[in-house]
Symmetry: C3
Subunit: 151 residues, 3 copies
Amino acid sequence: MTVENAIAATGITLPEPPSAGGNYISAKTVGNLVYLSGVISRDEHGVITGTAGLDRTIEEGYAAARACALTLLAVLRRHLGTLDAIHEIVSVNGYVNAVAGFSDPPKIINGASDLLVEIFGDKGRHVRAAIGVSALPRNALVELQMVVAIA
Amino acid sequence: MTVENAIAATGITLPEPPSAGGNYISAKTVGNLVYLSGVISRDEHGVITGTAGLDRTIEEGYAAARACALTLLAVLRRHLGTLDAIHEIVSVNGYVNAVAGFSDPPKIINGASDLLVEIFGDKGRHVRAAIGVSALPRNALVELQMVVAIA
Amino acid sequence: MTVENAIAATGITLPEPPSAGGNYISAKTVGNLVYLSGVISRDEHGVITGTAGLDRTIEEGYAAARACALTLLAVLRRHLGTLDAIHEIVSVNGYVNAVAGFSDPPKIINGASDLLVEIFGDKGRHVRAAIGVSALPRNALVELQMVVAIA
């Protein structure tokens, strides 16, 4: 089954991919790697804001990380034409807007990792880092950066 | 027009490239990519210090990010001999020393992105992430990391 | 002398490599690069926790960064079979759990850089970034991410 078919089968709908808000671009192919700009957590209501350990729970963070991954897939579909062009997910860097001492960034970034494996299977397994930071664009709860390999 | 000519035409002068302060190096070529160490914001008076949202404005941050990009170009010129060896800018990671909840890291990192496009044109467009962090070396206002592709 | 022999000669023992705690993997080879997941600081007693500038000194941070580098080498040995397969260390990103305004992340990440050069010599010299962040997994003092090139 192709990835596009897998997405259709799950009923997952990708969001509209965002435009870059400055002199940068959303995706760049170099050789067989596609580098992606960091995207912030959004849903149909707008930016998912807040701070883990302050006014946001781990569950809300998990949903925000999943939303970031969906946005990155939307960016990739626009960039590549189809997600079936992706050979594998290489790396994910997840940044969580968090209070000092918040010890669960991984439980939040799991929202992205789980989605990628749900859609891509073993090829969706990636290396990653999960970091808590003091400030993200538009006060987003999560920012996610990714590199993927194409065939 | 070559990039070196473009820089000369704008009157931009690159700073002296910094030396690595430990057991690491400023730049490393692997295949057709050049990976660069993070550099902190400096001008002719020394390190540009401070914290966005506390004692530094967005405009000061923008200038600090631009200064980082100039420093990275100086590192690249030393590493490659000439900036004309650069095929394109691939990625920029910008870290802003920021108070918790500062929502404008992108407006600061634009200082780097705008400079890269000013000098390299479309080949200067890159993917990027803009993150606010609690602490940077020597209390710098901005740290910038970059990857470029060579011909 | 091979790297494995060099390690044996120094008496350094690598720790047990950690398992990935979710839908991600510890290492992934793409072309001649091996990307590694971020690892947190641990020793034989468990996670090395704490915050630089609050309850941890630079010396404790240096030891924690060195411990992260040892863990990453253990991951690489498991992934590649032998550390002799490594051609060179490419990049290191070091994140330090730090109070706002802590100005010495590089002195802490030197613990990793020094170890890599101790073991790999000139091939261990890498590009790097050292960043202070507000929160790391399990309240770890240091998290380290690395990319290496293989022959």
